[in-house]
């Protein structure tokens, strides 16, 4: 399965769904989909790279923890990220996010993401790959 993302409808907020050949790829795609809630990921240049590390009891909580770690970096660095790498070992995730500072004139950011929720939270096999999804609060 090639890596890609889509949004699914939630009345108040936005559902993000990432697909990939591995769990890690599905996580990367979900993070790209989360950036797409704010702006076109194609408009975000990978000017700097930061490490992302998190831990959780199971793959679904790990997805929420990963997205929340990215949200924290977006908020505190006033940044957007468009490229992600993810390695999952058991209950731990190590990865990187590449992006740049928010430029309102170029990114036209629609809305900030407040947090990744446990609503519609799912990490599961689908076809020959994996799907990773949840609703993010905006």
């Amino acid at each position: 399965m090639t890596r890609h993302w889509e949004h699914f409808s939630h009345q108040a907020d936005v559902g993000i769904r990432g697909y990939g050949g591995t769990v890690g790829e599905a996580f990367q795609a979900a993070a790209e989909g989360m950036t797409a809630v704010v702006t076109d990921p194609g408009s975000v240049n990978p000017e700097f790279t930061i490490p992302i590390t998190c831990h959780a009891a199971d793959p679904e909580l790990l997805l929420a923890a990963f997205l929340n770690a990215v949200i924290y970096e977006m908020a505190t660095r006033n940044a957007l990220f468009s490229r992600f790498s993810v390695t999952i070992e058991g209950a731990s995730l190590h990865g990187e996010a590449a992006g740049e500072s928010v430029d309102p004139a170029r990114h036209h950011p629609a809305v900030e993401v407040k947090g990744a929720t446990y609503t519609a939270l799912k990490v599961a096999r689908e076809g020959d790959g994996w799907v990773a999804q949840c609703v993010v609060d905006v």
Binding site: A12, N68, T76, N78, H108, V111, G115, T117, Y118, T119
Partner: protein, 475 residues
Amino acid sequence: MDLKHLEPMSDYVWRLPPTGPMRVPGILFADVELIRDMDDKVREQLAGVAALPGIQTAAYAMPDAHWGYGFPIGGVAAFDPEEGVISGGGVGFDISCGVRTLTTGLTVDDIRPVANALAAALARTVPAGVGSRGHIVLDHAEMDAMLRGGARWAVEQGYGRADDLARTEEHGCMAGADPGAVSDRAKRRQEAEMGTLGSGNHYLEVQAVAEIFDPEAASAYGLKAGDVVVSIHCGSRGLGHQIGTEFLKEMVEQAPAHGLALPDRELASAPIRSELGQRYLGAMRAGINCALANRQIITELVRGAFARVVPQADLALLYDVSHNTCKEETHTVDGEEKRLFVHRKGATRAYGPGHGAIPEVFRTVGQPVLIGGTMGTASYILAGTGHGMEVAFGSACHGAGRRMSRTQARKRWRGRELVDGLAGRGIIIHAPSMRGVAEEAPDAYKDVTQVVDASDHAGLARKVARLRPLACVKG
């Protein structure tokens, strides 16, 4: 929502009978059309809330209820202090998001010649949108003082007037806040966000009083037709979001140790008496103070912008209400007064006449209930009722409530066309993102008038005044 699951109690009250693990029924306040338009997820979530330990009387859905996370947005649930739980999802990520409305001492005729200049001054003065930064940066000690003091702290720092505090829930300072229970990451996330509006459905709006429904209450609130008011809708910014994120995870992880069999982990909760429950209460109350301080700072920024454009303006706070909270309150259950922990997620406290928490100047008419609509339709001011105290722990709706997702809205509308269309109707919009405007299109929301009428007919709160937008600074 399929009506077959519900028993009609009246034209505006519906009962979801307890089944399976539900400990109490669900009660929905809405007309039949609003009920039909509600997602079935609202019923599922209400049933999940009704299954939580220690819940009292019923799990409630307000007329603007829609699919939330764990609790429906527009959900109210009260819990016994000994046996009950507190839920991070039942409060939400944007802790104490709320609305405050200020009277201006101006009329529509005063504003008309300067409306464009005023809207531009407000947009320049109040940081709004993704990536905007506030002008106030707090060090560690100042942050903790803010989290303890709320709007009272802000007034002490020169942001506002002492009489603002009497017109704010909790007199501007939520007791029991514990800055020590708030993580360094949450504080770090707030460092540059004091006095910022945020984004999404947050706004700052100049409004005209278009219609008065209850002259006595309107007079007590200082409102008459043709007056200009200003409303501010925002919350606890990054600090609240981070508190919500961290405690949701911890509540899920500790649920088995607490013996909580959650029907869905989005209902993440902790026993109120547990160490985690108490720690969350301390952090959540600090989040409430952050939101109160934030709206207080923005109030002073708004006053400054008005002073530069219309020096004769006198901006006085009418009232400040919070939508996403859990508060310890006294209510009557089975004929006896009882202390309860009342969650309101996307719902407004609406205390009835005579309640001691209401400022004396309008105590006889009930608490002002400030309902934010959309930038193209209307907002409303209601008054809490005695009936609402009896049937919904003194709660009412909080806004129009979305009927369409952001994704759908973005596909249907273009921001620039919406802004131009609203300009043609005399409504000035300042927004940092046209895509954001499209996602907030007025027609992406339910009809706020229908929601408010349902609240009025159900007796939760009674209509006092309708406000129409003149100028809106979108977040």
